[in-house]
Amino acid sequence: MNHHMRLNYTLPEGDLKLYFAALHRGDALASECSSCGDVAYPARVLCRICGSESVGWVNLSGKANVVQRVDGRNSSYALVRFTGADTLSTVALINPTSQVSTGQLSKPPADRPGLWLTLDRTLKEDAHV
């Protein structure tokens, strides 16, 4: 027998509401621990280093450097370091044909609020465009 089920989830963003609001604007809002200064992106509500709950917000430029990159059949992902962050971040690459190792955070699809990175273009790629 076949059985079909469709689920529509609502995911309340809770204490990460500001982080997600910024992300939907294409802005990188990181968490910054007021005790040890650790900057985490994606943001955290509890410091990953010292466990402090005293965590504030800091705006990052959204520029990132690729540390590791994986290319699949239909999509590419990378571990990147956003400028100013102490953590690495997992991102989906919007333009994986580019082999440049720097990029800029982009607005995610409305229902997919992960980190999406547009890789910078090389002069050669710009010439083609």
Binding site: L16, Q68, V70, L79, T87, T90, P113, G114, L115
Partner: protein, 387 residues
């Protein structure tokens, strides 16, 4: 050290993609009945049931432990379901060990199962597995398990100098081991070239570097020595069972290529068992991907230089430390909830000298079993001993 928790018996179904119309309920009955028979026990002798099943999405059944107690002739027992991602089966074993060691139960049936292959479409299973990580951040990019494992593997390769050929050698060896295992999903006679030329899934991983989605079930029965039936065979007891977690987000790890949580779990297990890694004679290691086996062996401290040891044949059947003689997940398959239970059963049967598949050159005394969920995010390590 755990002093008095023993494996009374066990059974498993073949791990494969079911095309015979059977369901996880059928597989559960088969392995529960098989484990009772193997142990020389009756259903009425069991007073605890721990069920391992990773996701209700796979079974479409909430509260599965009550249902399965009923279905398997165990109604009346104290029942619970536990979950720990890919380590769900091993977590269930740990829950059963705790029940016996604490005296909460005399004889516990640990039943692991998962319809990972035939009950849902492959793309749907993949989408669900993507929720095994931080679903709100990493998961929302649409990233899949293979890509996350690949990012970790790339960091491991960069640090250690491992090449894809090193990964491919694991894929070949585990499939060769599986050819002796009648329950194996992928008993393949393949070469390094076959692995390297198979389609790329997510670089550096090719199709043959990946473990399959499998259906299946496994069960073991745990008890104190005094509650074991009188059978004239060697028995296996737990010397240790330990766990540890790592950060869920790969990017928050100091080295995304090192399984630090697994290292913590292993250290706890070695200390609890009062043994060193050099004392281990045989290991069943969580090889969801070929490279992950090397990352696991490194974290478990089973070789000072894992790449050199692997190239030298240390982990082969005739090597000093045979690894994954069952075929591991790559060869035997991985129905998630059943995986850890089957790993423990395999190691026990090896120690008791009655394993049906590939056997080591010399009879092992101590075996290590390693399972994890996520990218080695939730880790379980057990050390078993035969008596």
């Amino acid at each position: 050290m755990i002093n008095d928790v023993w494996i009374a018996g066990g059974a498993m179904t073949p791990f494969n993609r079911r095309k015979d119309g059977s369901s996880f309920r059928d597989w559960a009955r088969v392995v529960v009945s098989g484990a009772l028979q193997d142990a020389g026990l009756e259903a009425r002798d069991i007073d605890g049931l721990v069920v391992a099943s990773e996701s209700d999405f796979f079974t479409l059944q909430l509260n599965p432990s009550a249902l399965l107690a009923d279905e398997c002739g165990l109604a009346g027992v104290a029942a619970k379901r536990v979950e720990g991602g890919g380590a769900s089966g091993h977590v269930a074993v740990q829950a059963g060990v705790a029940d016996v060691a604490s005296g909460l139960a005399r004889r516990v049936m640990v039943l692991g199962l998962e319809p990972s292959a035939s009950h849902l479409a492959g793309l749907d299973v993949g989408a669900l597995y993507a929720l095994s990580f931080d679903a709100w951040t990493d998961g929302m990019t649409g990233i899949d398990s293979t890509s996350l494992y690949a990012l970790s593997a790339l960091a491991f390769m960069e640090r250690t100098g491992a090449r894809h050929e090193d990964f491919a050698r694991v894929a070949v060896r585990n499939r060769a081991h599986a050819r002796h295992n009648p329950n194996a999903h992928l008993p393949l006679d393949i070469s390094l070239g076959d692995v390297i030329s198979s389609p790329v899934v997510a670089s550096p991983y090719h199709r043959l570097d990946c473990s399959p989605l499998s259906d299946g079930a496994a069960a073991i029965i745990l008890s104190c020595k005094a509650d074991l039936p009188l059978l004239s065979r060697r028995r296996t007891r737990f010397r240790a069972t330990a766990g540890a977690t790592d950060t869920v987000r790969l990017g928050e790890r100091t080295d995304p290529g090192f399984f630090a949580g697994k290292r913590h779990a292993a250290n706890r297990a070695y200390k609890m068992a009062d043994v060193t890694p050099a004392d281990i004679d045989l290991a069943e290691v969580y090889d969801s991907y070929s490279g992950a086996q090397l990352q696991a062996i490194e974290a478990l401290k089973l070789a000072p230089n894992v790449l050199q040891a692997d190239r030298d044949g240390v982990f082969d059947t005739a090597g000093a430390l045979p690894v994954n003689l069952s075929g591991g997940l790559l060869g035997q398959g991985g129905p998630v909830g059943a995986t850890g239970v089957a790993q423990i059963m395999t190691a026990a049967f090896q120690l008791e000298g009655r394993y049906v598949g590939q056997r080591p050159a010399r009879t092992p005394k101590l075996a290590l079993v390693d399972t994890h969920g996520g990218i080695a995010t939730l880790n379980c390590v057990s050390i078993l001993e035969s008596r």
